[in-house]
Every structure is written in structure tokens, then in C-alpha cells.
């Protein structure tokens, strides 16, 4: 730390201490949860358990990254679940050659993935356009696609399930990196590809938020939109990009989910995802009113929610009760935020 900070008056130091507690409380909670499980949950320390939890959390975190950026501007994106369904619907249509014939399967899959993600991103841009052009509140503007988006996905697939078995595509949900040649059950099986994608995305977004001009602009808008505009921040442009990124993330997560399921069901893909993602963001310590955000917090938040649920299920608590615990976590996180601002 620098010289100036050593001279900080006691009041400022107290606030610093509080901020530090706030910052690390989510991480501490995660570590406590892990320790609890190490001692009380049978067979917790195993590759399989780590695998299950990380795999289940990946889609939430991928969506959560976009959601964190949206919330950092003081907005909210309810459409992410529906955008996942759209991306999940269009991709199989393309790689199953339903629209046009692509001979080379790798090309078809590449087109499908890029198409799915970009389409979701385009819808995200539309959200941002509604919000900035007509000054509609984000919760209302994104409600449009929350409702209509799933309908669009159903229309694209005629409401029918699209099953497929295609390793060229499904690596994104089932593939593994660093997989050893012949591992017996219980051994290290490699890192699931979606976990790698998740971690790369988290790292990139965290770096972007902290170090880039765009990240600064996002936080300035969330902190005080009027002040940001009067200081020359291109508010509308930044917001459109943020909602677009949220859409892109949702599109990617949609691909992961259908790859895991080996099928795309427009009714099911991404159902309830908006709430899971918002919960992860809130538990992670991002200020819901905007202006302060942490991407790694969202990762930790998602892990906490996942692990609480896992802990309860593994110890024989019914899933309904586990949902109550999730709700309690969110309440606790929001309470902690209100304390930090007092």
C-alpha cells in the first residue's frame, strides 16, 4: 500500500475493513461449506463430486457473467432463459441440415454454434435497444423476450423435441480436456469442456470489468447514470453492448445445456435460468442497484448455491427444502449488501 493510505483517518480504515469483510465473506462462506462437507458428507473428497458440481454450475455461471455486467449498469435481464432456448433450438436445426445442406459436418457444427450464439446476441441487442431507445425499464423490456423468446424457439422447432447424437457438437457439454487415456472409475477423468469455457469466460470478463475502458463505463453508468452521461460516457451504446453480451452468454449456455441433454426441447432449455443467474450474482456480492460488481463473486455465488443444494441432497434433505435454503441464501446476501451501504 502507498504512503497516502497509511495516513488514513480511523473512520476510513474502519470502512476499508468492512469492505474487506464484505469482499471476502462470500469466499469464506464457500470455504466453510467445503470444509463442512469434507468432514460430514460421505465420499465428498472425490473427483466425481467435484465433477458433478462444476458441471452443473457451468451454465449458470456462463449466464451469470452476462447478468453481472447487466446488473452492474443498474439493469436486469429476464430474457436469458428464453434466449438459451432460442440458441438451443436454432443450433440443431442447422447442424441436422434441416434448413440447408452442409456437406462437411465440422462446418455445419461451426455454423450452428456461431449461429445460435449470434442469434441470442442479436436478441440481447434488441433488449438494449428497447431500453435505451424508448427508455423502458429493463425489467419490463426484457420481460418481452422472457415471454416471446420461448415462443419463438417453439415456433422454430414446431414445438417438438430435437434429439441428436453428434460428438462433433456435443464436446461442448460432454467433452473433457486433459483426459487420461485409460482411467478407472473414481480417477481423474479430465476437466469438462464447459468448465474450461466457464473459467476462461470468468477470467476474461473479470479482467475486462477491472481493466478496460468498457468496464469502467459500465460501473460508472451503474453508479450514477446522469453523472456518467454528463462526463461523456456513451450511455446508450454501452448499455446495448452489455445486453448484447448477456444474450451472447445465454446463447453459449443454451448450447452447453442441449449438448448435455443430447436433445433440444424449447419448453425446457434454460427454464428458470434468469432467476438462478440473478441469485448467483446477488450471493456473489454484486450490488443489485448497480455500480459495484464482481465477476469472480458471481462464480463463487453460483458455487455456494450449488454446494448448499448438493450438501442437503447428499445428506438426505428433500429438494423442496433445499430450495428454501437457496431462498434464505439470497435473503442473507441482500441483507449483507444493505449493511455494507449503511
Amino acid at each position: 500500500m502507498t504512503e497516502v493510505q497509511i495516513q488514513a483517518p480511523p473512520a476510513a480504515r474502519r470502512i476499508d475493513a468492512l469492505a474487506a469483510i464484505m469482499r471476502y465473506s462470500t469466499l469464506a462462506a464457500l470455504i466453510l461449506l467445503i470444509l463442512f462437507n469434507v468432514f460430514f458428507t460421505k465420499n465428498f473428497v472425490s473427483w466425481r463430486v467435484l465433477d458433478v458440481n462444476l458441471t452443473q454450475v457451468a451454465a449458470i455461471v456462463i449466464v451469470g457473467v452476462g447478468m453481472t455486467l447487466v446488473i452492474a449498469t443498474g439493469g436486469i435481464d429476464l430474457s436469458v432463459g428464453s434466449l438459451m432456448a432460442i440458441s438451443g433450438a436454432i443450433a440443431p436445426i442447422i447442424f441436422l441440415n434441416k434448413v440447408f445442406y452442409v456437406g462437411e459436418i465440422h462446418v455445419a457444427v461451426a455454423l450452428a454454434m456461431i449461429g445460435g450464439i449470434l442469434l441470442a446476441g442479436a436478441f440481447g441487442w434488441f433488449n438494449g435497444w428497447l431500453i435505451t431507445r424508448f427508455r423502458i425499464q429493463p425489467i419490463i423490456a426484457t420481460l418481452v423476450l422472457f415471454i416471446a423468446g420461448r415462443g419463438i424457439a417453439q415456433v422454430m422447432t414446431n414445438g417438438s423435441l430435437q434429439p441428436f447424437k453428434l460428438d462433433t457438437f456435443q464436446w461442448i457439454g460432454l467433452g473433457r480436456l486433459f483426459a487420461p487415456a485409460n482411467a478407472s472409475p473414481g480417477d481423474f477423468h479430465g476437466v469438462p469442456d464447459q468448465v474450461v469455457i466457464m473459467l476462461v469466460l470468468v477470467a476474461a470478463a473479470a479482467w475486462m470489468l477491472k481493466r478496460s475502458l468498457f468496464g469502467r463505463q459500465i460501473l460508472a453508468i451503474g453508479g450514477n447514470e446522469r453523472a456518467a452521461r454528463l462526463a461523456g460516457v456513451p450511455v446508450a451504446q454501452v448499455k446495448r453492448w452489455v445486453y448484447c453480451i448477456s444474450g451472447l452468454c445465454a446463447g453459449l449456455a443454451g448450447l452447453v445445456v442441449i449438448a448435455i441433454n443430447s436433445s433440444s426441447d424449447a419448453n425446457q432449455v434454460g427454464l428458470g435460468m434468469e432467476l438462478d443467474a440473478i441469485a448467483a450474482v446477488a450471493v456473489g456480492g454484486t450490488l443489485l442497484s448497480g455500480g459495484r460488481a464482481t465477476i469472480t463473486g458471481t462464480l463463487i455465488g453460483a458455487l455456494i448455491i450449488q454446494l448448499v443444494r448438493y450438501t442437503m441432497l447428499a445428506n438426505g434433505v428433500p429438494d423442496d427444502v433445499a430450495k428454501l435454503a437457496k431462498a434464505a441464501l439470497i435473503v442473507a446476501a441482500v441483507w449483507l449488501q444493505s449493511q455494507g451501504r449503511a
Binding site: 502507498t2 497516502v4 493510505q5 495516513q7 488514513a8 483517518p9 480511523p10 473512520a11 476510513a12 474502519r14 470502512i15 481493466r211 478496460s212 475502458l213 468498457f214 468496464g215 469502467r216 463505463q217 460501473l219 460508472a220 453508479g223 450514477n224 446522469r226 453523472a227 456518467a228 452521461r229 454528463l230 462526463a231 461523456g232 460516457v233 456513451p234 450490488l287 455500480g291 459495484r292
Partner: protein, 519 residues
């Protein structure tokens, strides 16, 4: 109390003795005292952090005291909440109006104490009640109309009427004039005199010294959580008052009090020329110019269109017609970014609402407008930012624990300096300062005024808007007077007498403009 004026002949209405309070180990009040006589208007003054607001918060039940004794109306007094205090006869009027704009005047006044008849609201009785209450303050209006149909001043009066109700014995006014123009202030003072004649006491908190002399009987001066002095207004000079507040000797104060006056600037070419600007209902055909090294002041009542005109130049609001040029180049600012790129900075009147980003650090707030220049290929250069921030913290004397301290933890004066630095850092041609010293304590105010003068001396063109006539008159090289959205007069520094400017503000009579100075 280290000094005291002659005690009032009658027993005091309110007596707070040896009040102490600490927040988290830091003392806010140390054995402070305050005594108010019946029917007295008592000024409570002090710099920011002197303990005025803590004193009032204790009295009105917002916070509890650690030590001390409060006597009110002949008995020990204890308020559990502001509502409780109001019930017991102590009402508070805050800076912001806390009313429901879409409901009628009656509803706003009677909210929470409605008259009922057979279980239904007795509208007739309530309208009558509201009318009677307003009549007391010589306000006659249709109480059935929604509040938003009336202007800010009337709304403020309704708020005051509501707060005072029928049974307040003591009314606390915390900077009641900060959002009023001079005419509205006069109306408020009539209300205060009316209250006084009815035997109601008033505690009057204000940064504006002239107002204290106009309306107050006695003054209690606080500094660093202590009561420094209580005196009759008539027996204490302005200079003594300021000296007591600052804890300095009079010679020093005399120097800082005159620092802003007597500008003899080296004025250069026209930097900003605004021709026939019009927009909305508030700006009609306004023309003015600002030259290099010149401070141009906008004088006018609230609602005269000063802020609105400035916002047009900065691209913050859409313009209907008119032309702007900067250094001879035409400028069409559609968004603030256009004006910023052209070299204009704008410090808004409401720091909290439009100026600072409270959750961000001093450094981030300071460089908010400079972010694109501090970035290369979209990546932010922290080291470059730090160098700039440290330079300006030193240059403007911004008091903070360091560049990383959150701006919301700073005092108003230091926040304002950060906002000034935000624009100075981009080396502008023109800065627009809307109420640069509003809500800032006397010490920081003088510092900022001196700073503005220095900047102009270095060649910066400054457009300054202030509701304090004194600030405009002493700080400007040229004064434009706006009235009801029109530019009614222009005075050079030497001819901008208080009476001439005020006459123009009030009447806008072109006859009254001194010959040869009108453009």
C-alpha cells in the same frame, strides 16, 4: 459554553445542556449547549462537521445522546422519533420537499391526520383546515388542485404549513432557503416573522450569512462539536461570526472574505458565442458570450432559465433553435460528449444527483471524463490515471486519505474540487460551473472561489451560475441577468451594482439597464 449573550429575561423554551455524542468512538458533540427563548428566531451556524446536524438530530429523536440534559417547554424532553418530536411540539423542515405531487394540497397537508365522519373522510372539514392553515401564512390557493400544479415555492410553503401544523412551539429549519430564489426567500421570512409574532420559536440553520442578519434574533456558533459562542445578532459583526466559525483571527478572515472581489482580468478573444438559443418553455432567444480569461456570471431567480441555458451549451438537453460557436468553430452539441470533445466542461448544480459517482473512488471520479484519453485499445492505463489524480489532489488541495478513497466519504467542498479537477484534467477551453459553492462550508467556499479566479487568470473561460447574488457580483467580470427564460440585461463588472442587477432580475425592465452596456 465559553461565552454567552445576556440571557433572555423569560425562562427559555428550549435548553440543551452539555450534550455529548460519539459515533463509533469519534466524538461529534462534546458538551455542546443551545438555548432558545420563546418567540425567538435563533440561528445555528458552523462549518460542515461542527455538530449542528447532530445537535438537531438528537433534539428531534433521530439519534440518541450519550450525555446531557434537554428541557423543553418547562419539563425534561425526550423524543423517540421525529414523529414523536412533532407530536410534542417540535417540527422540522428539511431542504427537500417530502410531499405527494399528484395529490391535492389538502391531502398533502392533512396526510396522516385526516378528519373522519361516520368512518369516511370529511373532505369539507379537511379543505377548511388546509385553507385556514395556509391563510395563516397569507397563502390563498385552490386546495383541491394537485400539488404539482403549483410552482416550487408554493410547494415549499405547503410543506412548511404541513410541518408546522397547528401546534408547533418550535420549528427547526435546516437550510430552508437553499433551493429558493430571493423572492421566495422573502416570502419564507414573512412566514418566520408570522410564527414569531405568534410566540413560536425557530431554529434557523443556514450557510448564508445575510439571511441570518435579516431574520434572526440571536446566534449560536458551533465548531468541532462544541458551542463556541451565543450572541445577539445585532451585537456581532459578520466578520466576527465567520472568524468564530472558522476559529481563526479576524485579520485572516478579512483576507479570505475579499479574495473573490476586485477582479481585474486579462480578457482575450471570444471563446463561446451563443446566439438566440431557444428550447422548451424555459429558454427563449438567449444570446451571450464568454471570452478567454473571463468569468461570466448568470444572475436570475429560480426558474429564470440559467441552468437550462447552460445545459443547452453542453448538449445535456435538446436545443430547439439557435447557434453555438466555440473558438469561432460552429458547435452542435447533441450529447454532452460532443461538447466535451470540443473542450467544454460542466459541473452540475446538484453534485450528488448528477456529479459524483458515490460508489467510485476519488481517482475514478476525477478521471470520469478523461477515460477515453487514458485508454489505449480499450485498455485502461492505471498508472497514467494515478499520476494525473495525484497531481490534482495536490494542486487543488483535495483532502482525502488517498486516490482510492470513495468520493462519498469526502466533504461537499472536497467533492466539488474533485468535480472541478475532472474538467481541468482535460484542459478545457470553457468550464460551466452551476452553483459551484452550494452547500459548502465557508472555508471551502472561499477556497473554491479563489481557485475559479486563478483558473480564469490562467486564461480559462468560465461561465458561472449562482443563486447567491453576492457571489455573482463579486466573482464575475460580466453579469448576464436572465428572467423567465429571457436575457434581460448585461452588466460589466464595474456597473453590476446590487440594486441594478436585482431590479433587472425582478422586473426585467430594459429602461433600467445602464446605458452603453446592453448588447
Amino acid at each position: 459554553m465559553t461565552a454567552s449573550a445576556t440571557p433572555p429575561s423569560v425562562s427559555p423554551l428550549l435548553s440543551m445542556r452539555s450534550i455529548s455524542k460519539a459515533f463509533g468512538g469519534i466524538p461529534a458533540l462534546s458538551a455542546a449547549s443551545l438555548e432558545v427563548a420563546p418567540g425567538e428566531v435563533h440561528a445555528l451556524v458552523g462549518q460542515n462537521g461542527a455538530g449542528k446536524s447532530t445537535m438537531i438530530k438528537i433534539l428531534t429523536g433521530y439519534v440518541s445522546r450519550d450525555e446531557g440534559d434537554i428541557q423543553f417547554d418547562g419539563g425534561p424532553f425526550e423524543a423517540r422519533s421525529p414523529q414523536d418530536a412533532q407530536h410534542k411540539g417540535i417540527s422540522t423542515i428539511y431542504q427537500e420537499i417530502n410531499l405527494v405531487p399528484f395529490r391535492s394540497v389538502t391531502e398533502n397537508i392533512c396526510l396522516g391526520r385526516e378528519s373522519r365522519r361516520f368512518g369516511l373522510l370529511d373532505w369539507k372539514a379537511m379543505h377548511e383546515q388546509a385553507r385556514t392553515l395556509l391563510a395563516r401564512f397569507k397563502i390563498d390557493l385552490d386546495v383541491r388542485k394537485p400539488l404539482l400544479r403549483f410552482n416550487t415555492a408554493t410547494q415549499q410553503m405547503v410543506a412548511i404549513a404541513r410541518a408546522i401544523g397547528f401546534k408547533a412551539k418550535l420549528v427547526i429549519m435546516d437550510e430552508p432557503t437553499s433551493s429558493l430564489d430571493e423572492r421566495e426567500v422573502a416570502v419564507l421570512f414573512d412566514v418566520i416573522r408570522q410564527l414569531k409574532s405568534e410566540g413560536v420559536s425557530v431554529i434557523f440553520v443556514s450557510h448564508k450569512l445575510d439571511e441570518l442578519y435579516e431574520v434572526c434574533d440571536r446566534v449560536t456558533i458551533m465548531r468541532d462539536g462544541r458551542t463556541v459562542r451565543t450572541a445577539a445578532m445585532a451585537s456581532i459583526s459578520k466578520l466576527e461570526l465567520v472568524a468564530s466559525m472558522l476559529g481563526r483571527d479576524i485579520a485572516q478572515v478579512a483576507k479570505s472574505a475579499t479574495a473573490f472581489g476586485g477582479r481585474r482580468a486579462q480578457i482575450g478573444d471570444v471563446v463561446l458565442a451563443a446566439d438566440h438559443l431557444s428550447a422548451g418553455h424555459k429558454v427563449h432567444d438567449i444570446s451571450f458570450s464568454v471570452r478567454r480569461g473571463e468569468i461570466v456570471g448568470f444572475a436570475g431567480l429560480l426558474g429564470a432559465g440559467r441552468t437550462e441555458t447552460a445545459r443547452l451549451v453542453f448538449g445535456a438537453d435538446p436545443m430547439r433553435s439557435g447557434a453555438i460557436s466555440l473558438d469561432g468553430q460552429p458547435l452542435v452539441p447533441r450529447e454532452p460528449i460532443d461538447a466535451i470533445r470540443a473542450g467544454i466542461g460542466f459541473s452540475p448544480e446538484d453534485r450528488k444527483y448528477e456529479g459524483i459517482v458515490p460508489e467510485m473512488a476519488v481517482s475514478e471520479n476525477l478521471t470520469l471524463a478523461l477515460m477515453p484519453q487514458l485508454s489505449k485499445a480499450g485498455i485502461f492505463d492505471e498508472a497514467k490515471q494515478r499520476a494525473i489524480v495525484e497531481k490534482f489532489i495536490k494542486r487543488l488541495g483535495i483532502k482525502c486519505s488517498g486516490p482510492d478513497q470513495k468520493i462519498r466519504e469526502l466533504s461537499g467542498g472536497n467533492q466539488q474540487k474533485v468535480l472541478l479537477a475532472r474538467w481541468l484534467a482535460m484542459n478545457p477551453k470553457l468550464v460551466i460551473l452551476d452553483e459551484p459553492t452550494r452547500g459548502i462550508d465557508v472555508g471551502a467556499k472561499a477556497e473554491i472561489q479563489t481557485l475559479i479566479k486563478e483558473l480564469a487568470d490562467q486564461g480559462l473561460a468560465v461561465l458561472m451560475i449562482s443563486s447567491e447574488l453576492e457571489e455573482v457580483l463579486e466573482g464575475s467580470d460580466r453579469v448576464f441577468v436572465l428572467r423567465e427564460g429571457r436575457n434581460v440585461a448585461e452588466f460589466p463588472h464595474t456597473e453590476a451594482s446590487e440594486s441594478a442587477v436585482m431590479t433587472a432580475m425582478a422586473h426585467g425592465d430594459s429602461d433600467l439597464i445602464p446605458e452603453g452596456s446592453a448588447s
